[in-house]
């Protein structure tokens, strides 16, 4: 009150209390209006940016789908060409009996590489974690490790398996297997236990070689792993797909 009076005195009738109050009210109103305008503007801008990002994402996704489709087409083409080559080779073999052996070898190698769909008699081995009491036992002693899978694969290859798949994924000559805690990673794809290992080949030989006393199955059983063997008349294995 005093301050206002002073102002009134110094400036005369120019700056009254009433005008001072009016000024404050006007400043507040202006501030609120300006502030909300700013706020609304920011909102508009952010929503515009958002929609732009969405559009970009959409276009990228479409591009990706296009690329994947193209990949698929190319894979199909490659398969077709492979088939053609096989056809030529067979024709060649019928002409020249000497090279029949070579063709057979090429076929075997192709199966091993996983370039072809494989189908035939074989053996199916299932590896399962042993039952254990997690309180009293170390779970590491009971679960299937990649070393067990290695042993089995090695034995299968030695005994003449033409094609091998783990949980439906073909294992090639250059495949890698990695232990990853409770799962194993095969060429970047994770597989949990139980592991179903399918091998195409002479099932009698395969079974006999696995069941050698002191052989792979014995070792696995010794490591508390539940192993089941099963001979199969007709196993189907897909060819290796290069995932995009």
């Amino acid at each position: 009150m005093k301050m206002n009076n002073k102002k009134q005195n110094s400036k005369g009738n120019f700056f009254t209390r009433k005008q001072f109050e009016l000024l404050i009210v006007c400043i507040t109103t202006g501030f609120i209006i300006g502030y909300s305008y700013n706020q609304a503007k920011d909102n508009r801008q952010t929503s515009a940016i958002k929609s732009e990002l969405f559009e970009q994402e959409d276009s990228y996704r479409e591009e990706l789908i296009e690329q994947q489709e193209r990949n698929k087409e190319l894979t199909e083409e490659a398969n077709m060409l492979q088939e053609k080559i096989r056809h030529y080779e067979k024709k060649f073999a019928s002409n020249e009996k000497d090279s029949k052996k070579l063709v057979q070898e090429a076929e075997d190698l192709r199966l091993l590489l996983g370039d072809l769909n494989s189908e035939g008699k074989g053996i199916r081995i299932t590896l399962q974690d042993g039952d254990y009491d997690p309180k009293s036992a170390n779970p590491n002693d009971y679960i299937v490790h990649e070393s067990h899978v290695f042993k089995l694969l090695n034995e299968l290859k030695i005994s003449g398996a033409q094609a091998i798949a783990i949980n439906g994924q073909r294992v090639m000559a250059n495949s890698y297997i990695r232990c990853n805690g409770p799962v194993i990673t095969i060429d970047g794809k994770q597989h949990p236990a139980p592991f179903v290992i399918e091998a195409i080949g002479d099932s009698g030989t395969l079974r006999a070689s696995l069941n050698l006393s002191g052989g792979v199955v014995d070792q696995l059983l010794n490591d508390n792993i539940v192993v089941s063997l099963e001979e199969n008349q007709k196993l189907m294995m897909p060819n290796v797909k290069i995932e995009s």
Binding site: Q19, L23, V25, C26, T29, G30, I32, I33, S36
Partner: protein, 123 residues
């Protein structure tokens, strides 16, 4: 007379220059505050024109209305009822009424002026 406009411009500039982000939940409060401020402002102009202006009523009404509207909105948010609609409705109706009254008063004054001019010219 120029002082309120200067204040308005100053406030606008301040509001445009402040770059504080408030959460979107409180945007309701802001809209109500805008309405309350505008309502009180036009109410003041109307009162001035009707010669019943009282600065105490004006200033207290300005701040009290804003606080009341914000409080109502706050209550509404907490209760899950859109109570701020009541504030928007009340202020909106009053805003239109005030502006209508201001317009009528100004129109009658204009008419009177013309009438006086005619009278003077005739005389």
């Amino acid at each position: 007379m120029w002082l309120p406009f200067l204040g308005l411009v100053l406030g606008l500039a301040l509001g445009l220059l402040t770059n504080i982000q408030i959460p979107s939940i409180y945007e309701n409060y802001l809209s109500i505050a805008v309405l309350a401020a505008l309502d009180t402002l036009f109410g003041g102009i109307r009162a001035q024109l009707q010669h019943v202006y009282d600065d105490k009523v004006f200033v207290s009404g300005f701040f009290f209305n804003i606080v009341l509207a914000a409080g109502l909105a706050f209550l509404g948010v907490n209760l899950g009822v859109d109570l701020y609609l009541a504030a928007i409705f009340a202020f909106g109706v009053r805003l239109f009424q005030n502006i209508a009254i201001i317009r009528r008063i100004l129109l009658t004054r204009l008419d009177e002026k013309r009438h006086n001019k005619k009278k003077t010219s005739i005389e």
